[in-house]
């Protein structure tokens, strides 16, 4: 039971972080399909930081530095999406897909190059962080408490406040709803969209490092992040682009995901003899049905996916 709660919370943390990233980007009017790739890059940044930082650094600063590295990688990588889609008006869906293809491959090439440079015979794409991982975890009895759970709550509150209570957030959302109107009252749409995409890069990067620290302590970069970026997109839509609803739907999705890993603990579930893949499939099926029911009155930002062109009114 404790295991189920623990897995649910950690999976939900990843989903909340990444979905909030998508939320910022889409509210500014840019569809960010590249979250998967951004997560991989964030994970790479964090993993490299854990590889090279001396372990002697006190816990708090160590965690902070690793997070900053992940955020930095995420932001830099997402700027590729921003340049292509905002300045050069490229198709957002296509660039997002390319970011996903590129992310995993580039991270693998890089890690392999680093590994072979250290040891000629080592051609794996693994980074191990057994010692550093312990700094992210505190034990409360049997419960393995992960600091990311706190970070996620902070990130959630920050996202809510920024989006709804600050001038910046309201302007950002205006750019996703009606950029021409926003521009006419003096808001720089290009800058706002850049901000939206970069913030989504930061959140995506955080989600990425959270994901690889969730279970294992050796990460193989060939595997990417197994569709969590896409799942986060589903969470975001399920949550109707609102931070508090995103948190709730992430809990639901995380719960099913965790159930797939831990269902053997529950006798009545084992007795039902459902294969574990059924639980893994569940979030996708639910979101597909919900999408079918709600899409015709969806609260999606109206101008998302359309490159802003000043000369078009």
């Amino acid at each position: 039971m404790i295991l189920l709660i623990q897995y649910t919370l950690i999976f939900s943390s990843v989903l909340i972080l990444v979905a909030l990233g998508g939320c910022f980007s889409e509210h500014s009017g840019v569809i960010n399909l590249g979250l998967e790739g951004i997560m991989v890059m964030g994970a790479l940044g964090g993993a490299l930081a854990m590889k090279y930082l001396p372990i002697a650094i006190p816990g708090f600063f160590y965690v902070l530095l690793v997070l900053l590295a992940a955020i930095l990688f995420g932001v830099v990588y997402s700027s590729l999406l921003a340049v292509a889609c905002i300045n050069y008006k490229a198709d957002q869906t296509i660039v997002g897909t390319a970011l996903n293809m590129l992310g995993t491959a580039a991270a693998t090439v890089l890690v392999k190059a680093i590994n072979t440079a250290e040891n000629v015979n080592n051609v794996s794409s693994e980074i191990s962080y057994i010692e550093p991982k312990k700094k992210f975890i505190a034990y409360l009895g049997e419960f393995e408490f992960n600091w990311f759970m706190v970070i996620t709550i902070i990130a959630l509150v920050v996202a809510y406040v920024v989006l709804y209570k600050t001038r910046f957030g309201l302007r950002l959302m205006a750019c996703g709803e009606h950029p021409q109107a926003a521009d006419s009252v003096g808001i720089n749409v290009y800058k706002m969209r850049w901000a939206g995409v970069l913030i989504s890069g930061a959140y995506g990067g955080l989600g990425g490092i959270c994901y690889i620290l969730a279970g294992v302590s050796i990460w193989k970069f060939e595997y990417g992040v197994a569709g969590f970026g896409f799942l986060a997109l589903a969470v975001m839509i399920f949550g109707q682009w609102k931070p508090h609803r995103i948190a709730l739907s992430a809990l639901l999705f995380g719960f099913f995901r965790a159930l797939g890993n831990t269902y053997t603990v529950f006798e009545f579930l084992v007795n039902m003899k459902l294969p574990s893949t059924v639980y893994n499939m569940m979030p996708y099926i639910i979101s597909l049905i919900v999408l079918a029911l709600t899409s015709s009155h969806s609260r999606a930002p109206k101008a998302e996916g359309i490159p802003y062109d000043k000369s078009q009114r």
């Binding site: 399909l33 590729l80 292509a84 050069y88 008006k89 490229a90 198709d91 869906t93 296509i94 660039v95 897909t97 390319a98 970011l99 996903n100 293809m101 590129l102 995993t104 491959a105 580039a106 693998t108 090439v109 890089l110 392999k112 190059a113 440079a117 051609v123 060939e222 569709g227 896409f230 799942l231 997109l233 589903a234 839509i237 294969p275 893949t277 059924v278 893994n280 499939m281 996708y284 099926i285 979101s287 597909l288 999408l291 079918a292 029911l293 899409s295 015709s296 969806s298 490159p307």
Partner: protein, 369 residues
């Protein structure tokens, strides 16, 4: 004088989709070379591998190995078919990111028919048919969701990709007869009559799926360019509202195009399991042919011939990918090149900025005269 000759070339270049595609591919390779230099590898290896996968011969004096050519052609089958899948939807203005799922379902259908039905000659035709139908259903569902319930096809297909991916082992492990090598991730063997026969280069996997692919390319071209259906599909792609006003049933057009698109991807799945894999493997992770199909269709501008050529290019890269592994070059470099090609293609819309600028400059010049 030289300026006069140069200008038309730029205009021609900006207008021609084919020329920009070629330029984009070259740019992608240049970026790949830079990447290889950055990580301290010799980029010549990349081109040796590519040469080897095109003509089967690595260097002067080296032995001919046609197996590589056969593998290249065999790999290009699923790329081209998935490219057709993506392209068909793209011409109707849809972004079918779900070729991967439709491919998986087609593969599953072919797998089931090949395992469950007692062997009879020509069984592969039934397998292929099943794959076509199931792929079409998997795609058609998205079309109906899009047309009737306004579900974004991008999100719906992503969901269906993962459902298909989990459905494959679910069905194989729980419903199909199990083989004696159960633990190594196989079901009972595929019937030998269900396999696609090899031809021409027997040492490689080049199989008659190649002809199925050629037929698919022709069918694609014929439907798109020569039939009333194709016209109504393209009209819907250009402007949905205008198409509806002129009496085209856009709900039908969207559903049908997604179904046909899914059928192409389903066929790709059948060709892979019956022609390339050739044993009862249980799919546990995505093969990425479907996602690469997006790149193939983009490079090929969603035209039949373009997709065919782009698919061959990706087949070459895939074979080079295997050869490079033996050379100590990280094979993911190939995927990086492919990803960059897609980004550069997406940046093509940036070319219209150049066009605008040139048009403005021209007007300014005339005014100042």
């Amino acid at each position: 004088m030289s300026k006069k000759e140069k200008q038309p070339f730029i205009d021609w270049f900006l207008d021609s989709n084919g020329a920009t595609s070629v330029a984009v591919v070259i740019l992608g390779f240049l970026a790949g070379i830079v990447l290889l230099l950055c990580i301290g590898k010799n980029p010549v290896g990349l081109f040796t591998a590519i040469k080897q996968s095109i003509i089967g011969k690595a260097a002067k004096g080296g032995g001919w190995n046609f197996r590589n050519v056969g593998e290249t052609l065999a790999f290009s089958i699923p790329y081209i078919l998935c490219g057709l899948s993506m392209g068909f939807a793209a011409r109707v203005g849809l972004f079918n990111i779900g070729a991967e799922g439709q491919y998986t379902m087609g593969m599953l259908a072919a797998h089931i028919v090949a395992v469950c039905i007692p062997a009879f000659p020509g069984q592969w035709m039934l397998c292929v048919l099943a794959a076509l139908v199931v792929g079409a259903i998997w795609g058609g569902v998205v079309g109906i969701l899009k047309a009737k319930y306004k579900v974004s096809e991008v999100v719906a297909t992503i969901m269906l990709n993962y459902i298909a991916l989990y459905l494959y082992p679910l069905v194989c492990l729980n419903m199909l007869p199990q083989g004696t090598f159960n633990k190594t991730g196989r079901t009972a063997d595929l019937a030998s009559t269900a396999l696609l026969d090899n031809f021409l280069i027997k040492s490689s996997n080049l199989n008659i799926g190649f002809f199925l692919m050629l037929i698919a390319v022709v069918v694609y071209w014929f439907i798109m360019e020569k039939t009333r259906l194709g016209f109504s599909l393209r009209a819907t792609g250009f402007n949905k509202d205008a198409a509806r006003c002129s009496g085209i049933n856009d709900t039908k057009a969207i559903s049908l195009s997604m179904a046909i698109s899914g059928a192409f991807a389903g066929l790709a799945g059948a060709c892979v399991i019956l022609g390339l894999v050739r044993y009862s493997k249980i799919l546990t992770s995505q093969d990425n042919y479907g996602f690469m199909g997006i790149a193939v269709a983009l490079v090929g501008n969603s035209r039949a011939l373009g997709i065919f050529l782009a698919g061959l290019l990706f087949g070459i890269l895939k074979q080079a990918y295997s050869i490079m592994q033996g050379m100590g070059i990280p094979k993911e470099v190939v995927t990086v090149i492919e990803g960059l090609i897609v980004i550069f293609i997406a940046l093509r819309s940036g070319l219209s900025l150049v066009k605008d600028y040139r048009a403005k400059a021209k007007v300014r010049k005339e005014v100042s005269k």
